[in-house]
Symmetry: C2
Subunit: 260 residues, 2 copies
C-alpha cells in the first residue's frame, strides 16, 4: 500500500458505515473513501452473479481514485465477490467474513450462531470460513432481514426491534449457541437490543469491529498530512446523509454523487 | 390497443403482484406480462431521476414483447416517471396514483390519509392528484417503509406487523382522517392488519383494486384465445417465486430472468 494512498471502503448502502466508523477509530491518521451503492441497495436479496458485477464496478471506481487498499464492508458482497475482487485487483482486498469467522473461532466453546441477510446465509460463507479453521465447530446460520430496515429507519432501540430480535434469535438460543456473529454490517446498530435478548452468557462478534482490527494489522505505515474522509453514493444523497449521521453519530462532509 | 396484444404490468419487485392479481380477476380473458425489476428493488428510497431511467428501460423491454397497454404497478415509479413514460410511449400508460386519488375523493368526507414509501410521500403525488380534483380536501401523507419488508417476509399477519401499523397510523388517526389510501402496492398484503387498527369508521382505498377497475374500463375489446400469464424478473427468481406464491395465493408458471 503506497504511503499516501487512502483506504477504500465499499458497501451496498449505509450498513458499511459501521465498518467505516470502526476503521476511523482504529486508524485516525488515514484518509478514507466510503462508497455506498445506494442506487442498487440492497444486495442481500440479489443473486451472487449480480452482486459480483456491481462490486467489480464499485472497486474500479475506487481504484481510479487512487486507493491503496479495499475493504468490502458488506457481508453479502464479501460472500459473493471477494475471490473475484482479489483475482482482478492488484491492491490488498479485505472482506468482513474472515475477520468475523476468526473472532468467532477464538471465542466459542463449540456452538456459533450467525445472523445475516438471506444472500449471506444462502452462501454459507460463515459456516465455510469457520469450519476451514476448525471443522469441529457447529455453526447455525439464520436470516434476519428485517433488522436492515429497522436500523435504517432509526428504530434500532424500539419495542418493535426488541420483539423482532426475540423472534429471530429464538431458534439460535434454542440451539444453545455460545457465540453470536452479527453477520451483516447493519446489525451493530441493533447490538444493544440484540444483547438484551441474548443476555451476558453469549459472546457477540461484531464484524465491523473485527474487520477494523484486521485492517489495522494489515496497514504497515503511518501516513503524513491531515486525514480526509470522503463519502460517495450512487443515489439519494439526502437519505444517506440522514442515516449516516445516525450511524456515525456525527454529520458528514464531502458527500458526492457518482455513477458506476 | 390491438386485439391480440397483452397488458404489461411493471413494478420494482413483488409489490405490483397485488395489482396483477386484481387485473387478472377483473380481466380473466386477457394475457398479462408482469415485469419485476428485482435487481434494482426498492425504488422507494431512490431519486426520481434514477426511478425514471429504470422505468423507461423496463417499458422498452415490455414494448419489445408486444404489449398494447402498460400499467405502472408501483406508486414510486408512477409518481416519478408517469409523465416521462406517457410522453415517450405510443400505447396507453396507466399509473396507480390517479385511480387511487379518484377513489379517495369519491369516498372521503374531507380528510384523507395516505401511507406510502418515502419516495412517494416526498413527491406528494397523492396530495397533488386529490387536490386537482377537489382543492378543499385535506390530505395527510405519511411514510410507512417497514410495511414493505414485513409484506415480503410473510410477516403481514403477525403481532409485530400490528404494532408497526399502530405506530405508523397513530398520527393519521390523531388527524381524524376518514379515508386511508394504501399508497404502495405492497400494502394490500397488510390490509387485514391495517383494518384492525383503523376500525370500521375509516374507508380503505386499495390502489391495486382501484387501478384494476380503471384498467378494465380502459380496455375496449375481449380477446380470443387462451390467456397467458408471464412473469419476468431481473434477478433472484427463486425469491420472487416464493413471495409471489404468497401474494397471488397460487404457484406461478412461466418465470423468466431478463436483463434491462
Amino acid at each position: 500500500m503506497p504511503k499516501h494512498s487512502s483506504i477504500g471502503i465499499f458497501d451496498s448502502g449505509v450498513g458499511g458505515l459501521t465498518v467505516f466508523r470502526e476503521i476511523a477509530r482504529a486508524l485516525p491518521h488515514h484518509s478514507l473513501i466510503y462508497l455506498g451503492d445506494s442506487a442498487r441497495v440492497p444486495y442481500g436479496t440479489k443473486s451472487a452473479e449480480t452482486v459480483t458485477r456491481y462490486s467489480l464496478q464499485a472497486a474500479a471506481h475506487l481504484i481510479d481514485r487512487g486507493i491503496g487498499m479495499l475493504v468490502i464492508a458488506c457481508n453479502t458482497a464479501t460472500a459473493a465477490a471477494l475471490p473475484a475482487l482479489q483475482a482482478s485487483l492488484t491492491i490488498p482486498v479485505i472482506g468482513v467474513v474472515e475477520p468475523g469467522a476468526r473472532a468467532a473461532v477464538a471465542r466459542t466453546r463449540g456452538r456459533v450462531g450467525v445472523i445475516a441477510t438471506e444472500g449471506t446465509v444462502r452462501s454459507q460463507a460463515y459456516t465455510k470460513a469457520i469450519r476451514l479453521i476448525d471443522p469441529k465447530i457447529e455453526v447455525i446460520e439464520s436470516a434476519a432481514p428485517l433488522f436492515v430496515s429497522l436500523a435504517e429507519e432509526g428504530w434500532a432501540n424500539t419495542h418493535v426491534a426488541r420483539e423482532v430480535a426475540e423472534i429471530y434469535l429464538e431458534p439460535l438460543l434454542d440451539a444453545n449457541i455460545d457465540t453470536l456473529v452479527l453477520g451483516c454490517t447493519h446489525y451493530p446498530i441493533l447490538r444493544g437490543t440484540i444483547e438484551q435478548v441474548t443476555g451476558d452468557k453469549i459472546a457477540i462478534v461484531d464484524s465491523a469491529e473485527t474487520t477494523a482490527s484486521f485492517v489495522k494489522s494489515a496497514v504497515r505505515h503511518k501516513p503524513s498530512g491531515t486525514p480526509k474522509h470522503q463519502f460517495l453514493v450512487t443515489d439519494a444523497e439526502e437519505r444517506f446523509r440522514r442515516i449516516a449521521s445516525d450511524f456515525l453519530e456525527t454529520e458528514i462532509e464531502h458527500l458526492e454523487l457518482v455513477t458506476l
